[in-house]
């Protein structure tokens, strides 16, 4: 094999290219680990820690920052490639007690200052271009809605939460070069149940929570550059080298996010530190860009190759999902890695091939392309147990109906989901028309939290807890009325329509595989974001499509005409009444005609008696 690789000297400078050839030999999914005796399993220790808390990995230098980076590549059943980057910076500074910290090592100062100034407990922000197709791609590691999403938990010491939120959105708008300054009271809600803190601390008073989405936000290079600047190595070294916008934005789906939350410093959780998790997810469509060759490599996807790990990183790893490929029947990895890892992600036990970039041996091998005919991988994708979609029904510009359909694909278990809908005020929801039906029967939500909108002040907020019966579709419908706005309130392209942010469906989905609630040290980053408190269920958040709704529009070209015409009608009313009110009836005395009057004037000048 090695001699075969060395035959192509052109690629010798490439340290690592993972080229995968899909060679479908059988469609029988094989169990992980079978026939892989020669491979080594990644060491994992089961620690006895408080479940539900992510623990920062112990670091050789105590009381300093640590940084980890990780890339997960998963070939999807649709033939696309899903690449997920996770960068985690842990800052051992405790803000919860009001400390002001001015010393920064790895943690980006711009964000650190924002957090301390605005007393932020948790901050989650995501920018997404494209819509995640759950039924084709499965569940993402970290879900995000199209457009921008921001949700923040403030410390309970904040008194003016709305003012702080306004300021914070403006600052973040500057940091991320995004239109977050368009977040105001008309698109901010305070969910009562759907967004719980993901870090330590049991604050559940939703007065300190603010949630907003901008479904219309376009994500592009100007958002990526400041995001990359937050990394300790920037885009100079490590996995971030791959993040070049010309390829990244040429993808079917792109999502970048920043999550800041407090986590336990050690297993006893006496003090907390701050975790900054930067994630970037992209789905590459290699069918169209690969010229009918079903081969992919890091170079093909990113048009860059890895040169070295970030020197500041305590761990730098690439995980390739080989669950469906344990024997190399669908694709071959080159260079092959002897290190394997197993992790339970979203209720599914997956096997990964691991490449450790801190290990210099990884960069030693080179490879050459291998040409083989490829076929579609045939096999059953594990259907996501929870899936949702949404659409607007009805015609005309007067009323409409929002339909949200939630699917439970579990064959025999029902589970509750929490549906959150934030609808702008100009779609006036009628809550009495709310119906929830599953399998043709009414399914009464066990909890409804509804906050009606105020015109030009706040949106509708609808949260409800619905039990989804097994193997069913549950449909939630609610009617709305479209408002006519003032002409200055329309967007510059009013007939394009108005976006309504995605519904958020959060649920604890029963798992077929026991999730490891005891956090091991070596657990990959992507599998350990949402706190997991139960073994037999896992947390899933699903975002539906955003809606595009047309509103009736006035004629924008004629404000003057309308003002003039309406005032004329009022004046006609006023004038005719004024006429009748102030004048009285009199007998008309005939007035002489114009010619006669002129003649009389002339006659008077001549001294002749008038006619």
């Amino acid at each position: 094999m090695a001699s075969y690789w060395n035959r192509n000297p052109i690629r010798v400078f490439v340290f690592l290219i993972l080229t995968v050839f899909v060679v479908v030999r059988s469609n029988i999914p094989s169990t992980p680990g079978e026939g892989a005796e020669e491979r080594r399993w990644e060491a994992s220790q089961v620690g006895d820690v408080d479940p539900g808390m992510s623990v920062a990995p112990p670091h050789p230098h105590t009381n300093t920052d640590s940084f980890q980076e990780e890339l997960v590549v998963r070939p999807l059943h649709s033939g696309d490639i899903y690449a997920s980057f996770q960068f985690r910076t842990v800052w051992e500074a405790d803000f919860s007690r009001g400390n002001k910290v001015s010393h920064y090592q790895l943690f980006p100062k711009s964000l650190g200052q924002v957090i301390s100034k605005f007393s932020v407990r948790e901050l989650h922000i995501s920018f997404t271009q494209g819509y995640w197709r759950t039924m084709q791609w499965g569940q993402p590691f970290l879900p995000s809605p199209p457009g921008a999403e921001l949700w923040v938990w403030f410390q309970d010491s904040v008194t003016d939460v709305d003012g702080t939120w306004k300021e914070l959105t403006n600052v973040l708008s500057g940091i991320f070069c995004a239109s977050l300054n368009f977040i105001d009271s008309t698109n901010t809600v305070q969910p009562s149940a759907a967004f719980k803190p993901l870090g330590v601390g049991n604050v559940t008073d939703h007065r300190f929570l603010r949630y907003a989405t901008l479904p219309r936000e376009i994500v592009c290079t100007e958002n990526l550059t400041p995001w990359k600047k937050l990394l300790p190595c920037g885009s100079k070294a490590g996995l971030a080298v791959l993040l070049k916008s010309e390829k990244l934005f040429h993808s079917s789906f792109h999502s970048q996010a920043v999550h800041i939350r407090p986590i336990c410093q050690d297993q006893r959780c006496k003090s907390t530190s701050l975790e900054l998790r930067q994630t970037l997810n992209a789905v590459f469509d290699l069918h169209t860009s690969g010229q009918a060759k079903r081969e992919w490599s890091l170079f093909k996807m990113f048009s860059r190759t890895l040169t070295e790990a970030c020197p500041l990183a305590s761990s730098s790893k690439i995980y390739i999902d080989i669950t469906d490929n344990s024997q190399g029947e669908q694709f071959e990895l080159s260079p092959a890695s002897s290190l394997l890892s197993q992790a339970v992600v979203l209720g599914d036990r997956r096997t990964f091939s691991v490449y450790d970039l801190t290990d210099q041996a990884t960069f030693g091998s080179t490879l050459s392309p291998f040409d083989k005919k490829w076929q579609y991988p045939i096999g059953d994708m594990l259907r996501p147990l929870l899936h949702a979609e949404r659409y607007v029904a009805g015609y005309g510009l007067q009323t409409g109906e929002i339909h949200t359909v939630m699917y439970n694909h579990h064959p025999y278990r029902s589970f509750p989901v929490l549906l959150l809908d934030s609808v702008p005020w100009y779609l006036r929801l009628y809550i009495h028309t709310l119906t929830v039906t599953s399998k043709g029967k009414e399914n009464k939500p066990s909890y409804i939290h509804y906050q009606p909108s105020k015109d030009r002040l706040r949106p509708h907020l609808l949260e409800m807890l619905v039990q989804l019966p097994p193997n069913s579709a549950t449909e939630v419908t609610v009617e709305f009325e479209r408002a006519l706005l003032k002409w200055t309130e329309y967007t510059p392209d009013p007939n394009h329509g108005f976006y309504v942010g995605s519904s958020v469906i959060s649920s604890l989905v029963p798992s077929t595989v026991a999730t490891n609630t005891s956090i091991t040290q070596e657990q990959p980053l992507f599998s350990s974001f949402f706190p997991c408190k139960e073994e037999l269920s896992y947390f899933v958040r699903v975002y539906t499509e955003p809606l595009l709704v047309n509103l009736p529009t006035p004629d924008f070209s004629m404000p003057y005409n309308v003002i003039c015409l309406t005032c004329t009608v009022v004046a006609v009313g006023y004038g005719s009444l004024y006429n009748l009110l102030t004048r009285s009836f009199q007998i008309e005395e005939p007035s002489p005609g114009l010619a006669k009057r002129i003649a009389n004037v002339i006659r008077r000048m001549r001294g002749v008696p008038p006619l």
């Binding site: 007067q398 009495h432 906050q451 909108s453 309406t566």
Partner: protein, 435 residues
Amino acid sequence: MAAPLTLLLVVAVTVRALLSSSALQQLIAERVEVVSPISAWKRVIEGLALLDLGVSPYSGDVFHETPLIIYLFHFVVDYAEITFILADVIAAVALYISVKDYNKQVFRKQKFALEADRYPMDCLELIRSPKEMHYIPLKVAMFYLLNPFTVLSCVAKATCGLNNAVLALFILATIKGNMLLSAIFLCLATYQSIYPLTLCVPAMLYLMQRQYIPVNPRRFGFWWFVAQYLFMYVGSLFVLVCLSFFLLGSWDFLSSVYGFILSVPDLTPNIGLFWYFFAEMFEHFRLFFLCVFQINVFFYTIPLSIKLKDHPVFLIFMQLAVISIFKSYPTVGDLALYLAFLPMWSHLHRFLRNLFLVSCVLLACSALFPVLWHLWIYAGSANSNFYYAITLLFNVAQILLVSDYFYAFLRREHHLTYGLYLKRTDGSEATLVLK
């Protein structure tokens, strides 16, 4: 006389019941001409649903009716159709009785004047006979009950039907001379939609004339009466507002009901002048024009009361018309109330100048409203200007109608004083002009 009225009521109730139970009900209930953001039944139901969810109905911007309405429908929501039909029947019967009573008084006054020989000799043509006045009450009831506008409003369960019933009862109480009931009903109407506030003046004028109190600001009796009436009116208003406060335990309803009526934040199209004007208004002139338009409704009270101080019932008609034209969220139900009074002024027909034109325009507009609405909202082949143009025309027609009746009324009064066939100084036939 009771038999025709009963027949009329039976017919009216049947028509309403049939329409309510037909598929047309849904269609009618969504028409913007029939329901406004305040009076829409859908919004009342929404308010009830919000109450059931434990949310204050006034915390949102959908429900704008008064707390008493929501309290009423809390009990009778299952019998809503019957309630609205009953309201129409009550309104019609109240109008019937009050017109009958009023006609009696008119006739008596006319008799006194004839006996006192106050009318000029050639005015006998203008004298009203009991024969022609006999059917007027029935005609008024018929105009109210069988008017398509009233029927639509009732079938759509627009709460302005209730307001009309209260106003009809107010008119009945006033004409019957019951000061307390008059004040209470007027207060109920004001409580629901502010604008009937201007009817205070005609009510006081009428009651004073009935009690032979001279309408003279220099007399103590005048002010004493005004104080009494206003005390009853403001007192019952105070009681109502406090009652509303205790029903819901918050003052939110004040801004949500009255603030909503006065500041016009909801620009849903209707038959009035406000919606498109304020949709197209420049932001920094909004407050100014809002004040101008709202003052416009109340402003006519003073000059009209001075001009018509001897004819308070005609003044009530004028005020109702002005309110229904210039109010912020008018519906056809508001129109129906003052249109019902038209048979009362049938003796003015010989002086009307453009009744034919105005009726044609009103009819054509009523037909064009749904057509242009469809073209704008559903077909997309027209835009908002089409619908707006029709609202303009509709309002011009209403204004012409009202001012024509006003003109005819003033002219008849003039003729009753100066004679019907006026002569110029040189003896030739004269024409009357306004100067």
